[in-house]
């Protein structure tokens, strides 16, 4: 955290953000309550929480689609709620991929649809084309599909095209709201691996909204857990999953492998710590086995 705090000019800062839906009606809902967060450069953040915990509301604040009822959000030191702040420009820096993004496809060809974002940024045609091809490559859409109608693609392909539509804007913050919802395990891994690769290229903050603990544990370096409009926990996956009893109380859970390692430790296997991913569990078990046999 200290390393991030050093340069708030590169971060997204949320300062006492509150959001109330439908104030004064029977539908009134305090969706966000006093949120304070610093989202740093290059982080891979997993945002988890139960349905209705305020995750989706929170991310819509980050690119100015929703304005906080009270509080401020600063992007690189500028208040995005300020009148003179250019929201359209912000949205090219903070890319938001909604849930089921394939429902937003509308153009006649894949290339045209992906070009929608960069075109709106007012880039020259050549730059648009380059970004479109690069983005489609990044998400692994093969060239023979470039001129196909997006409506003819399979579910997983559609989703990747829709993600490319945001990637082509080259945002510094890439936010994905449950990008794997409704996909089969293979489609899910494909998308998540692509996202991890995109993050590994550097200079991008990725925020992955999910309620699969396995997914966020595998990829994220920092977890933010939301509950009833509050930040319930914020830390590394290990720190957060140590709280698995509290997580269970709010209807979440740690990854299966954390429970397994906990059980193993109870049964007398001397693991150094609880594992959060399968790969880590393997390392720990091997270390224990080697240590024991020596």
């Amino acid at each position: 955290m200290d390393a991030q705090r050093r340069n708030l000019k590169e971060c997204m800062v949320l300062d006492h953000v509150n959001y109330v839906y439908g104030a004064g009606t029977a539908y009134e809902k305090h969706a966000l309550q006093d949120i304070n967060l610093v989202l740093g450069k290059n982080e891979f953040i997993g945002l988890i929480g139960h349905t209705g915990s305020g995750k989706s509301t929170l991310i819509q604040h980050l690119n100015g689609l929703l304005q906080p009822t009270s509080g401020h959000i600063y992007y690189k030191g500028n208040d995005i709620g300020a009148k003179e702040f250019n929201k359209k420009e912000l949205r090219s820096h903070v890319g938001l991929v909604f849930q089921y993004p394939e429902h937003q496809l509308f153009e006649t060809t894949v290339v045209k649809d992906v070009a929608f974002g960069p075109k709106n940024m007012g880039l020259p045609q050549l730059e648009v084309d380059m970004r479109v091809f690069a983005a489609l490559k990044e998400v692994g859409i093969s060239e023979e599909l470039y001129d196909a109608s997006p409506f003819e693609l399979s579910g997983g392909q559609k989703r990747r095209v829709a993600i490319a539509g945001v990637l082509a804007m080259r945002p510094e913050f890439l936010i994905l709201d449950e990008p794997t919802a409704g996909l089969d395990p293979r489609g899910r891994d494909e998308i998540l691996d692509r996202i991890a690769e995109i993050h590994a290229e550097g200079n991008r903050t990725v925020i992955l909204v999910s309620h699969s603990m396995e997914d966020v544990a595998k990829y994220a370096t920092r977890l933010i857990v939301m509950n009833k409009g509050n930040v319930f926990a914020d830390g590394s996956p290990r720190e957060v999953f140590e709280l698995y009893r509290e997580l269970e109380e709010i209807g979440l859970a740690a990854p299966q492998v954390t429970y397994l390692s906990e059980r193993l430790r109870e049964a007398g296997v001397a693991l150094a710590q609880n594992a959060t991913t399968l790969a880590e569990a393997r390392e720990l078990l091997l270390a224990d086995w080697k240590g024991g046999s020596r």
Binding site: G22, G24, T25, A26, Q60, N63, L65, K88, R91, S92, G95, L96, V97, F98, P101, H103, Q104, L105, F106, F116, G117, K119, N120, M121, F151, G165, V166, M169
Partner: protein, 270 residues
């Protein structure tokens, strides 16, 4: 902004009006709307306002929420007012400039027409605020079942209406979502010239229509999977039965009608 559309939406609180049988509310709404156009004289207006005010108070739907429902008819309201003000040429002239002449009769007619329109919208939206689409359909189906004799497909009409009503909030939400998704890709729905604005709607309308068709086919599939085959032999989980409250409702309605009709014969206050 798009979420401000409140017409046809249910407002979930518990109140005597919410508990009324939908048939009572349907007939009350119909009769109220008719009554708005048959009475003459100021007393009628007083009665109509009083009636709807009592209903609104009883329904516990916030007045502000109901007023928001007036927004979509605002344009119509303004046009009605202007036409009545400028096209009525009776009474004494109050002001005139160029080709426009304003008469006192015109002002009065405009005010009364506007009032009628507002009462009309409030009266009918109060029913949808206090009745779930399901109740509404049940009420309509049972209330109109006499028409089956002359082969009116009452059940089908009721089902179509309830699906249409049910889809309003869904499509509003969907519109909101797609709008945001396109805004996140830099779409601009709020500025530019007319042609640009119309063009800007394409990224919104295409996905919306696609999604409406998808939802329609999903719904048809789900209905089919539950062996829906029209109204023949269908039974209800919650059959409608009149309770004491409903008879009271009918009595109040009859009282209101009596008063309105009576008020037309009162010689003064015309």
């Amino acid at each position: 902004m798009i979420r401000d559309i409140t017409i046809g939406q249910y407002y979930p609180v518990d109140s005597p009006i919410h508990r009324l049988d939908p048939r009572v509310k349907l007939s009350a709404t119909m009769l109220y709307l008719v009554s708005l156009f048959v009475f003459s004289g100021y007393l009628g207006y007083v009665l109509a306002i009083a009636f709807v005010a009592v209903c609104v108070k009883l329904s516990r739907v916030p007045f502000r929420y109901i007023v928001r429902g007036l927004k979509p008819v605002l344009m119509l309201l303004i046009i009605t007012l202007l036409f009545n003000i400028f096209l009525t040429k009776q009474g004494t002239e109050l002001a005139s400039f160029w080709i426009f002449h304003i008469y006192d009769e015109g002002l009065i007619t405009a005010a009364l027409m506007g009032l009628r329109l507002v009462l009309l919208v409030i009266g009918s939206s109060l029913m949808t605020f206090t009745t779930t689409p399901n109740q509404l359909t049940d009420g309509l189906e049972k209330g109109l079942r006499g028409l089956k004799v002359i082969h009116v497909p009452v059940h089908e009409i009721a089902m179509m209406m309830s699906i249409a009503l049910r889809f309003i909030p869904i499509l509003v939400e969907e519109t909101d979502k797609i709008m945001k998704a396109q805004q996140a890709r830099g779409a601009d729905f709020e500025s530019g010239k007319l042609l640009q604005r119309v063009k800007a709607l394409i990224p919104l309308l295409v996905p919306l229509i696609v999604s409406a068709f998808r939802r329609a086919s999903d719904l048809a599939m789900a209905m089919e999977a539950r062996c829906y085959h029209g109204g023949e032999g269908r039974t209800k989980m919650k059959p409608l039965h009149y309770k004491k409250l409903d008879y009271v409702g009918y009595l109040v309605l009859a009282g209101y009608l009596g008063l309105v009709i009576g008020s037309s014969f009162v010689p003064f206050l015309k």
